[in-house]
């Protein structure tokens, strides 16, 4: 980004639905490498998360990109008594929401079955932008 601050994009389910796996991964990495934080209305499948991590590894550059911070939210098994009783989370299913951003700008502070609390490292961003300017 050329200006100070952090850009956050909310990406709709319909936009994600139109993308193939490869397109989705490429889209995410392109945005994140430009210091954009993405909130995906429809979260990633576990295999998509694994593919994203794998693809991220090829993009890591010691001087410019250290990787991603990613958090996916999966809902409890609300339909079953066992799910309610034991707070089971179906990790093998698609996440209801995924937040992903550059690892040096985004920190997950807290996460539970209902919420993701993240912190944007604004100072670092400003410093990085200043250094790059």
């Amino acid at each position: 980004m050329s200006e100070n601050g952090v850009k956050i994009n909310l990406v709709s389910k319909s936009m994600l639905d139109e993308m193939s796996l490869q397109e989705k991964i490429q889209f995410i990495l392109t945005e994140v490498k430009q210091d954009v934080i993405l909130v995906l209305e429809e979260g990633l499948e576990p295999d998509e998360e694994a593919k994203l991590i794998e693809s991220t590894m090829f993009e890591i550059d010691p001087e410019s990109f250290v990787g991603i911070e990613m958090e996916s939210q999966r809902e409890m098994e609300a339909d079953s008594i066992i799910g309610k009783l034991f707070q089971r989370t179906p990790y093998g299913s698609r996440a209801s929401m995924t937040v992903v951003g550059p690892a040096d700008k985004l920190r997950t502070v807290y996460k539970d079955g209902n919420s993701i609390e993240a912190m944007v490292l604004e100072k670092q961003t400003a410093e990085a932008n200043g250094a790059a300017a």
Partner: protein, 216 residues
Amino acid sequence: MAIGQKLKQNAPGEIFSWISQVFGKEQAKIGIYGPPNAGKTTLANRIVRDWAGDVMGAASEVPHETRRARRKANIQMSQDGKGLTLDIVDTPGIATKIDFNDFVEEHEMEENDAKDRAKEATEGVVEAIRWLDDVDGIILVMDATTDPFNQVNVTILGNLEARRLPVVIAANKIDLPESSPATLKNAFPQHPVVPISAISGYNIDQLYETMVENFS
């Protein structure tokens, strides 16, 4: 008598091969997975030492010490009449970010060495993820002193559940005072969670029993 002790007193290969034949032979390729520094290689070394009198590789406090997957074939275990032959695959730690500066600042490495290590670590992560397609079950090693819901744990579990692979969670480092194995058990009630200390061997026999139950 503890399983590990029993084994050390016997010549493992031939005896357990025979046991496997008599009581039912099973073979499984088991991946040891987890985030960096969870204790994967320490656990792999303990398993291999207890059941084959060998070692898998070097462990270190510096993250990403294991940067290539290592495999030890034909580890033969037995428990309560059930025989299990394992190929143990010790995988590099999976991470979503690898910053060479962490090696420089936290472990006093030279910059060029740190960059090399970071580069190799990225290749190790890719290799670990690709091994997911080729394992029959997983021991997911989690650090019982840290947040169990970190994204690496969640992503690995998600892939296992989606692939319907059996998993045993080893809640490691319970020898440390800040560990909370109960938190891990509560976090993943749908999977067997065994609190262990890979470094001291505490409760390791419970892990072996759980492995045989779940992988055979």
